[in-house]
Structure formats: C-alpha cells, structure tokens
Assembly symmetry: none
Homo-oligomer: 128 residues x 4
Amino acid sequence: MILLDSRDRRPIYEQIIDKLSDLMMRGILTKDSPLPSVRSLAADLSINPNTVQRAYMELERSGYIYSIKAKGSFVADITPLKEKEEDRLYEEMRTLAERAAGLGIPKEDFLEKAGRCYDETEKKGERV
Amino acid sequence: MILLDSRDRRPIYEQIIDKLSDLMMRGILTKDSPLPSVRSLAADLSINPNTVQRAYMELERSGYIYSIKAKGSFVADITPLKEKEEDRLYEEMRTLAERAAGLGIPKEDFLEKAGRCYDETEKKGERV
Amino acid sequence: MILLDSRDRRPIYEQIIDKLSDLMMRGILTKDSPLPSVRSLAADLSINPNTVQRAYMELERSGYIYSIKAKGSFVADITPLKEKEEDRLYEEMRTLAERAAGLGIPKEDFLEKAGRCYDETEKKGERV
Amino acid sequence: MILLDSRDRRPIYEQIIDKLSDLMMRGILTKDSPLPSVRSLAADLSINPNTVQRAYMELERSGYIYSIKAKGSFVADITPLKEKEEDRLYEEMRTLAERAAGLGIPKEDFLEKAGRCYDETEKKGERV
DNA sequence: GTGGTCTAGACCACA
DNA sequence: GTGGTCTAGACCACA
C-alpha cells in the first residue's frame, strides 16, 4: 500500500501520515473503507507497531480516519478537510497571480506555465 | 508618484522600497529613468529626507537603482532581479500544481481557477 | 574596545565596521559574545548612537553579527565569511605567484619574501 | 614566437604587447636582441602590419624596446621596469600577508600555500 | 541643485 | 535597559 523512503529525514510516523492522507485526498482511499490493521501495516513496513499506532492516532485527531474498538480503523468523511485544503490552495494561487501580474507576465503565459506545471506533476505521479 | 498608507504598520522606508520596486518590476519605471530626488520625495510625502535616503540606500544595495552623487538616483537594469523573481514564482506554481493534483483537482479546473485569479488581480490593479 | 582615527577620511560608521569585523576575523571577538550596546559604544567613542546603529545594521546584513531586540547585539558564526575571505586571498596569491614566476623570481626568493612580509605584519600587529 | 588566442576578447595589439613584454620580463628575450620585423611578425600571425606597428609603438613608449630606423626593433634595458614591477608585487604581498595574519592563518600555512601557488604556476608555464 | 554623513533627540515595542 | 525607526537640521563634496 505504501512505501517508506529511507533517505527521507522526517520521522517515519510523519511519512506514514503523509502517504495515507495523500491517498485519501486523492480519493484512492474512499470513505468508510478499512485501513490495514496497526499490526499488519507494521509487519508490511518492517517497523514497530507503536510507530504505526502514532500515525493512526494523529490521523484520527486531524479527522482523516475513525477507529472502532475491536473492529479497526476506517477512512472518515474528509470532504471538509478537502475543502479547507482547496481554499488554502486557491488563496495562494491568488497571491501568485498578483505577483505574476506585477511582473508583467501576460495571462496567456501565466496559464501556459500553470498547465505545464500540472503536466509535470502528472508524470511524477505516474512514477509513484 | 507613490502614496503611503498610515494604517500600514511597517516602517515608512520599507513601504517606499516596496512601492518603488513594484513600479520598477511592473515596468512603469524604466531603466535609467530618474527617480525623484531624496529631498523632493521627502517633501511630497511629508516625511524626513533621512527616511527616503534609507529607502534609496537599500534599493541601491538590492540592485534596483543606482545613485550618482550630485546628479540623482536612477532605475538600474533590473532584468536579473526580474528573472530571479520569475523563477521563484514558477517554483511555487509547481508545488501548487502538485498539491492540486494530489487533491484530485482536474487540469481544466486548475487552469480555470488560475485564469479567474489572474482576472481578479487585473481589476484590483485598475483600482491602484 | 576600538579607537577611531580622526585623520581617516572614511565615514565613521565604516571605520567601526572595519575595526569590529577585523576583531571578529582575528578571533578576538568570538561567536555569541556580546557587543557593546549601541548607546554605550556611542558614548565611549563620543559619537551619535545613530552612527553606531548604522554600523551594526550593516554588520548584521553582512552576516557578522546578529541583533536581538531589547537584548543586544552578538557575534554571529562567521566561519563562512572567513572561508570566503581565505578563498579570495589564495586566489590573489595565485596571480601574484604567476607574476613572480613571470619576472623570473625563483621560488626560494618568492618564499623568503613572503616570510619576511608575514614577519613585518606581526610586528605591526603588536603595536596595535 | 608568439601565438594569438582567438577566444581572448582583448584587442590583438594588446595581446601582442602582453606576450612580448612577458617574454622580456622572463628574460627569454634579452637586452639588445632583435625583435621580428613588423612585416614578418604580421605575416607569421596573419594579421595587418598596422596592428603589429601599434603594439611595437606602445612597447617603445613604455621602455620595453627601442627602434632604429632602417635596422629594426630591439629589446631595451628593462631592469628599471623589472624593479618597478617587483616593487609593486612585494607591496601586494605585504597587504596579502597582513590579511592572512588578520585571518589567523599561521606563518607555516601562509608559506606552504605560497609555495604551492608557485608550483602550480610552473606547471602552467610548461604548458605555454 | 544632488547624494551622503552625521548629530541631537524623540518615541516605540519588548525583556 | 535593548535595538529600531523617525524627525529636524547641519555640513560636505561635487556638477
């Protein structure tokens, strides 16, 4: 399901949080679908179950997942989280557009570059 | 030429730097065109010449203007500064596109939003 | 701590910058040790605090010192500045050696002169 | 005798001056030895005789060579020029030593580096 | 006239 | 107390 990057300097639990929340944000993990159990994910990644437990705990606190005792962890309804993130993103887009206009970059160039940046991302995504 | 905002909490000299560098970045003040003299700008803004002097000093240090003693201050060739700013901007565009793709926002929506943000900026610019 | 030279035609703030940066380059003022406060140094040198402020401002910009509001100014970690200066010095040494070789000065003479120059410096340093 | 570097951006006559004065400074061209005639050097380098003429004119003005009508150009007694150049060189060595001492570079390191710079020059000279 | 340096002295936020 | 900002006003060298 997910892969750890040993060159990544961040703590492992943070990498897990990022990878899982990304899968949920992308809609690959959908609402109410079950996450792997703490023990099985720990075994898959060859890490300590406590590390997975910590990642799950923080994901629950942030509203990404919910846990039911003796049943497991499941993807929560993350539409509010998605909307917040989208708002933040468009807010930054706005300041970017302002700076671009300030630099005298015409609209066509701005959009052309935006498109190219998006395409680059897709290629990158395929590799992952 | 420029207006100060009394509600702005930043130091006056910083406001002057921002306004003038913006005019140069936008191409409104072009290469080698003369800036108002330290004294005349101070009189226009009803502030102390020392404050203008400080702004000009820092603008010169950053490469925006050049000053010739007993002649005045002039807009420098800011193409390298513009290029640096463009690079920074596109770098941020790239991370933005990545996050958008991560959120499952399709390319059309991303570009549509980028275009709308750019248009909003233009209206804002007209008011200034 | 430092002395001003009234015969020196350079601006006072520049003299202060030179003297202090020299003390730091020599390792006499070490990392994180406090500099005299703007007001106390101004009083010591019988000059205006603004002049000291300007010197400190430029020293901070160049990476020699860091200032904490309401606490004081302190010597920064200047190892990168030292390395840059050493690189510049050895670069000039190289062109000097080339010119010496071009003049037919043998290596022994070149080194003998280098040593004598270094010794003269030491005597000068003792007087300071 | 000498080679021009087409990548060198300086005017050709300046390159000729540099090469010839260098040969004289190095003692490869000795006092009273004849220089190639303007026409023959121009032919050798496939350039216009006027260009060589200009180089010789300036070399004579600087005291490097003397010309006798209908006989040719000859290397002058350049000991005074050598001495001046040596003085300049040692003057710069002195300021270099001061800066090195200021940086806390010990005498051994300074001399070691001076020696290495000299050696590098020799290798470079061999290639020329 | 111009930019640049400096003094004298005020006020601010902060520790 | 500290650094930082700002005003008012002086003087300098230079074109």
